[in-house]
Amino acid sequence: MGQTIAEKILSNHAGKAVYAGELCIVPVDGCMATDTTAPLALKAFKEMGGTKLFNKKKVHLIIDHAAPAPNERIANLHMLMRNFAKEQGSSLYDIGSGICHQVMVDHQKVQPGDIFMGADSHTPTYGALNAFACGVGSTDLAAVMLTGKIWLKVPQSIKVVLHGKKLQPGVSAKDLVLEVVKQLTISGATYQSVEYHGEAVAALTLSQRMVLCNMVAEMGAKTGIVSPEGLELPYAFTPTYADADAIYSRVIEIDAASIQPKIAIPNSPDDVHDVKKYVGTKITYAFIGTCTNGRLDDLQIAASILKGKQIAPGVRMVIAPASRQVLIDALKDGTIHTLIEAGATIINSGCGPCVGSHEGVPGDGEIVISAANRNFKGRMGNPNAAIYLASPATVAMSALTGFITQPITQ
């Protein structure tokens, strides 16, 4: 019987062929928690009787959600993480390292074919690497830290095929994934794996593939996995393909070549429209960063739009490079210089204002255009602000004009 990519990776780990709907216990190749989820996980780990990690090389703690610490309460939680890592001899990625997901990929802590558990809902991002990665809560993560295992229900898979070779000018993976979120809705992939196929996907870089998998969280999915065609990595790997006769709960075919720039309007990531419908909406705050769109290519697109220009008066633009590596690369090639000259504010590599903890909370009545993945009410720390989600190109163009603006066609 044919298998999906999720079924294959889980079967490889379970030591037997497993199919959608079955429960299985699988060994985990790596796990991580952040300063939002690690403190509770460390507490649960101790309560479970945990004294030693199942494998100190496979457990990663990342300080990214409120880093550097904005207050004493969070500073003490960060110390808790540092002390635990020191005690256990495990890795601790301290402030400035970057956003957990980018850090895990930059440091090759997750690789094709792996099963990875992260105490953060956007962990499926690693599906870009043709891996099975799931978001879990703190207590599940604590159990992984202790046992090296997790129990899972093998998910059904939704096959999303993105056809077409060339995207429209100004369109990137963010616009494609917003269209998929729109079609599947915020709950349409609940408990399932979203498996990406098609020539438009095969043509994407790793960074752009990460965008596609990142936002399966906004479809309710358990994981998202990209078929490995065209995947280029700096190390040798064994790709996992779906069988031709694999069984899918649903198949969605999209003509990627005809997709126009997209925008998700307040207050749900699945309320997606063409940007052109909202052109002219006044904005005062533009944000580029996050695990969705804070990578080098995202910053470069923004810099290419803002080069030699100034963001509109009355607009502030905040940029959080996704990791230290991204920041170094963007410094080296002049991207950061261009962005700062255009009037942008560069903040620490980390989650920044996306989760409303610090570094750029919007004021009452403000309209934000953001390259992030969520625009729930209160998401950026103020329930009286409105958040629009779009690609880095659309965010940069809007920062330039002060109004929601279509990215320039080349």
Partner: protein, 162 residues
């Protein structure tokens, strides 16, 4: 008898407990802010032991376990929904907040409910109706009966599927 407090579809974890409050181990402070962006009057209406009832996809969004922890700390005895977002569902059971999936229930705000957790049966005393919750896999039922994953692992040391 506990009363139902009914909310809609797709209640995300940012609305259950905003991200700005999550970075803490002070459980009482989580309870203080629970549901505040969704329903600022929550604490005035809600009595310890009452029940949260929702539609589809309750608890979507962030993986923050602070969401079920905050609900439990505020005295929520059980959450009923048509269905739950997957991480919230696991988290709730892992931390000992009972959750029941009842697709297409018609529970109204203020309905008085009687819950039989073990058998997954909810009696709606106000409407004189009975609902059966979706059966949980054994491993989840066992974790729920132990009051959470910590106790489960202390007792069993490992997961047991069958």
């Amino acid at each position: 008898m506990p009363f139902a407090h009914v909310y809609g579809h797709n209640i995300d974890t940012d609305r259950i407990i905003p991200g700005k409050y999550t970075k803490t181990l002070d459980i009482a402070s989580l309870a203080e802010h629970v549901m505040e962006d969704l329903d600022p009057a929550f604490h005035q209406k809600f009595k310890k032991g009452d029940i949260i009832v929702a539609g589809d996809n309750f608890g979507c969004g962030s993986s923050r376990e602070q969401a079920p922890i905050a609900l439990k700390a505020a005295g929520v005895s059980v959450v009923i929904a048509n269905y739950f977002a997957r991480i919230f569902f696991r988290n709730a059971i892992n931390i000992g907040l009972p959750v029941l999936e009842i697709p297409d229930h018609d529970i109204q705000n203020g309905d008085e409910l009687e819950i039989d957790l073990l058998n997954g049966i909810v009696k709606n005393l106000s409407q004189n109706k009975k609902y059966n919750a979706t059966k949980l896999p054994k491993v989840m039922l066992d974790i729920m009966q132990e009051g959470g994953l910590v106790n489960y692992l202390l007792k069993h040391k490992d997961y047991i599927l069958e």
